[in-house]
Amino acid sequence: MTGIDFEGTQVPLQAGDTIAAALYRSGTRVFSRSFKYHRPRGLYCAAGDCPNCLVTVDGEVNVRACECAAKAGQKVSRQNAWPSADRDALSIIDKMHWALPVGFYYKAGIKPKFAWPMVEPFIRKMAGLGFVDHHDAPRHLVRVNHHPEVLVIGAGVAGLSAALAAAGAGKSVLVIDEKAPGHRVAVGETRAAIDRLVGEVTAHGAITTQWNTAATGIFEGPLVIAVDATREETLHVHPGAIVVAAGGREIHRVFRGNDLPGVMQARGAARLAGVHGLKLGERAVVWAEQPEALAHVETLQRAGVTVVAVVAPDGLDTSSVTVEVVRGEVTAANGKKRLASVVAGGRTIACDVLAIGSEIQGNEHLVRLSYDLPVVIAGDCTGRHHTLEEAAASGTSAGTAAAAGPALYAVEPVRPRTCGSDGYVCLCEDVSVKDIEVACKEGFDSAELLKRYTTVTMGPCQGRICADQLRAVAERVTPELAERVGAPTTLRPPTRPITLEQAVAGAAHHIERHTTLTSKHLSAGASMMWAGVWKRVEAYNGDVQGEYAAVRERVGVIDVGTLGKFLVGGKDATAFLERLYPMKIADLEAGRLRYGLLLEEGGVIIDDGTVCALGDGRYYITVTTSGAERLESWMLDWAEAWGHEVYVVNQTASLGAINVAGPQARAVLEKLTSDAVDRESFPYIRHRQITVAGVPCLAMRLGFVGELAYELHFPASQAERLWDAIIEAGKAFDIRPFGLMAQRLLRLEKGHIIVAQDTDFETTPWKVGMEWAVKLDKPDFVGKAALLRHQKRTDRELLVPWVMPAGTACPPEGTVITVNGALSGRVTSAWHSPTLGHPLGLAWVVNAHAKDGAAVNVGGTTATVRVGHAFYDPQGEKLRA
């Protein structure tokens, strides 16, 4: 295949073709249908600025055909038209302007109220820019960092001169350009100058170049983010100073019919004719407002086009051209689907191409993002046309200035030019001069408001075509508000469209943490599940019931190495924790531990865990798996706020943790340690330093699963050794490793909550029956002020345990609860209890029904509220064993 597939037709290619060039050569003139009115649109800027040539290429939407290199085999289609862009049935909308006034989405279809839901889907279908392929697999792009002393953006005459000057001053220089240098410039002296400078730059040892790389924003640092389309990488450039020589573009000229296919900007026309050799039409008119445009006459002629007239203002010296000169301006363009004639100087001139060589405005987007960063501007980018000599001089002085160091360079805002009285200001969203006039008269009195209301500057061109003319129209309508309506609107990165793949380049991986025991779990048949950033064991071989039974009847072992683990020390450690936790810390004796909630300032539970007093003024604390990272910075923030001298050492990764639980847990440990682990020497809610299988451990007696249990914390490097020893010693008792699912069932039988599963963003200890964990007689703790206020209120909902009769099916978590048909709450945790033989769980229930013995309807089955009861071993005898 040697051509591209354009809507089912083969289009032949020539060397150096862009998609737009190939299609134009084969006769395509309508490249798209406009966003709102479905008007036919043809090539206009041919420089990647306007929205007219956005096409879908191989499933990728909104590709700029004028800048995208054509490759054999590409599938190309036009967008926003049905059945085709050439014969678009929806162009009927172009006859319905009366129904779609400016801001119509704020006005039309609003009354009566039922109308909008019917109108909206229609509008969504009519408007838009292509269809995204949801099955398209994203590519992972790399991010590359560069640290040149000077970065030059733009490889024209000015940019390349700046690079040579900066390198000549001894600096390392990186030059980037969004395409190959000079790729838009027709054969001539400018192109020759660029080619010569590229040769010098390439030969210079201190200059690195990267083409096809578009800068998309300048950020503090300074940091410049650029995307390389061909190498599929995103660049993060950290330069000392930046030269922006991004060139200029012609001002968008607005008059009746200014959006007809055949009306083009002169640089674009010259590119198509001079670079791609396209005969743009039979008869062309060149509107020249400045000297550069006169040179395009010859370029068009060389491509075989007859230039029938040059339209020029009175002051412009046109002695260099040999065609007829009409003094004045183009005031209208006529034609139905294509340009047929233009009106200029009071005459109608038949033509099929109009090349508009208007005044130059700078591509100032990057500059306007740079605020007070060390950025120097050079060449046309400064906002006016430069001759070859002027561009070279401007570049040299900019390069020298950038090499001299990070001084600050102010940018002068450019005043808007004039605008015609009819035609389209905004090609992206079909906004006419009249629309803007109406918006001004409706009272939109600042550029930012006009922008939002009319959507001018908010389309794919991001203001490149329309921004200047929006300001000009607004100033004309409301001259008394010129300062406000004529101000440039805020500009934001990216300054060139980028794909989401490019935006997230280098960040393609998810953080996935494993404990050192993961390989042991996997070889034992574990299925894994997410818990925060961790992967934890869900169950081994899916046998949740077997794991549960082992813990209740014999002994089980679980890897809890993912818990957040912190050592808190320093002069103020006790005072710090006393103020952090809602329970008492100061009276915690060495060797004791205490369960603690953590509350935020609104009194809401954000985490829970244990605090061990180590006796030397230091504390060892644990928090939940998912809370570890967040709570570390949260704790340190409070330390700074209170001026406490504390040190918080995050040992989450450096320590492993294993919980041995079940009636035989002690018997297993006794086989592995010579330290005392009996009930008298090592009772419940105590911790001891013991050695297990040769591994020094901080052992805690806790009761999350409701059985005799020892939680061992030890250096993570010893985890596999200790795990193996425990499994080996437990064989005599038929020990089983258990996963999160079994643990959730075990804890639920005890009525223990899991923060964030059973609690939400407004759960106070009161609402979950945990008043016992809060000591309001303490002088202060985080959340106390809010809880004191909260105490005076009646809670709307409470979290309560519930049970169902034996033989009923366990409802899924999240089931809605009703009482007498009215909504009362929802289930947060639910399991069928193997020991008790019936379903049980936790649920939010409105206050009136949160009473012991109250009957509620859970998904069609009656459940009974059981306030204040642990379902299993209510007296806690087993865990104290």
Binding site: E220, G221, E601, G602, S633, D637, A641, A786, R789
Partner: protein, 92 residues
């Protein structure tokens, strides 16, 4: 925005990019404050244009929190960590 450095008490002057911003410093809870004042303290931020007392976390360094005074218009650091706060408007 310009680049600036923060003088970490542990690590010395370091690029601001090593730190993460933790917002303006708010006053501590006052049990006697009115309900409205407490809601404002907890949930409303002042977004000062000018000198602001604020906290930064040395996330890519020693992981210590520091408090500085910064001019939000210019990014000039008026008070580095440990220095007197300077002429900062009190929280409303």
């Amino acid at each position: 925005m310009s680049h600036f450095s923060i003088r970490c008490p542990n690590c010395g002057p370091r690029a601001c990019s090593e730190f993460s911003y933790n917002g303006e410093v708010r006053p501590l809870a006052d049990p006697d404050a009115s309900e409205e004042a407490e809601i404002a303290r907890l949930w409303l931020r002042r977004n000062v244009t000018g000198l602001q007392r604020e906290r930064w976390f040395h996330a890519a360094g020693c992981r210590r929190f520091v408090t500085i005074t910064r001019d939000t218009r210019t990014n000039l650091i008026v008070a580095q960590p440990g220095e007197p706060a300077g002429d900062v408007a009190k929280h409303a």
